[in-house]
Subunit: 138 residues, 4 copies
């Protein structure tokens, strides 16, 4: 099994997950150990108070994990999230959010990754998330 | 401290969280111990394969918890989610999703609730979620 | 696949998990949908302040889930916990703790259960936990 | 508020949490951003199959978080774990387990830390855990 490149993942998303593409997620980097994405947040991502909504951050974390996993195991369409935990730590400032996913396990059946989301205003993360994906039998 | 009624919560959401209202969440019942909501899912909530997206279910769980909390402690705008865990158990069928939140703790500073999401097709839950809200000092 | 009875699970624990037996966990009931255990806590389970320690409650939740799973799928020794989340809600009073596990999914590869732990003093749970087990291929 | 040193924390544990001391946890390092502990596991920590038990790893993660928190905010006895999530990734080899806690948020009321547990045999973590502590009003 070999991983997919950023270009292969982009083409795969455009073909199969146009919603992720439309949501504005930008892949910065994909490597064997993880991936980095960013999201230029706009009005549609905001909650009252001008902060970015929780579901937007959860979708960003989930996409970062999925990209990292494809970067490791290749273009597997049927991998699905089985479990997501997220801690909202600080209110993100409007603007660009960056999500860094690090894979801590990629087994035959399960993969686990840690995601940290930061905004442009602070060195401290605005959210941390742990995600589990179930990998279909190959 | 006394809880808010369904009508009070609806008016509060319309005034302060129009996005939740627009997202199509419908409050069925609010009581001292929890709340029940449903969401008639449509095309905008779907992922490839015709299933409801994870962020849609997380937003539904989060709203169910928030409604349950307001039903217990009254119209507190600044309560925020600090932690959400969700397990995706079965692929939901398109159609109506129902979320039932049961409050298991409402303390002075933290509230914790369990949410089960079911679809119309099966008795088994499609997702279970545990949420923690931080309650501002009063 | 058929489930194990309480007597079969007891014999299996005595043979393979004597530590659980020695720890004092008592199986009250095993059914298709879950299991109930209790633990008469003693000095070895206590933390300063006279309350039951977190690891004791986590071990109790984990054992309740394992018993419930064996009650559904039979005596599978190699099922392992992949993920445990626990919320400590109220300080348990010393005395008997009861753990009720309800299975919310038993798939071919993963099982998920919810556990509530109560003490003898209060109707409110002292802890809630969600556990995932990985089931070996059969 | 200033943090406690390793020596202060050791004295505090001996006075107030002798069980942690007896359990064999060794503090390697305490800094502003986290802490590192190790545990030379022995027979009492093992499960059938010769692997370290889940509750042992959860207790180690919890202690690492508590030490890190004291290193940041000082000797606060009443900080308590409100939430722990753990993913068991790989079976630990018997021998020394190392837990590294990094604090990702220390607010007025809540602190959140990430803990990675590694064994001596592999570069990959055997477990990752996220913990939340509630900090009493000062």
């Amino acid at each position: 099994v070999s991983g997919a490149t950023k270009e292969q993942i982009l083409a795969f998303f455009e073909a199969h997950f146009p919603a992720a593409h439309q949501a504005g997620f930008v892949i910065d980097e994909v490597g064997d150990g993880g991936a980095t994405l960013h999201l230029p947040t706009g009005d549609s991502h905001l909650r009252p108070g001008g902060t970015v909504s929780g579901p937007t951050m959860m979708a960003l974390a989930d996409t970062a994990m999925y990209v990292a996993l494809l970067g490791r195991i290749g273009l597997v369409g049927l991998a699905v999230t089985t479990n997501l935990e997220v801690h909202f730590l600080n209110k993100p400032a409007p603007g660009v959010l960056t999500a860094r996913c690090r894979l801590v396990k990629v087994g035959a059946r399960l993969a686990v990754g840690l995601v940290e989301i930061t905004d442009a205003a602070s060195a401290e993360p605005v959210a941390v998330s742990t995600l589990t994906y179930s990998i279909p039998p190959r």
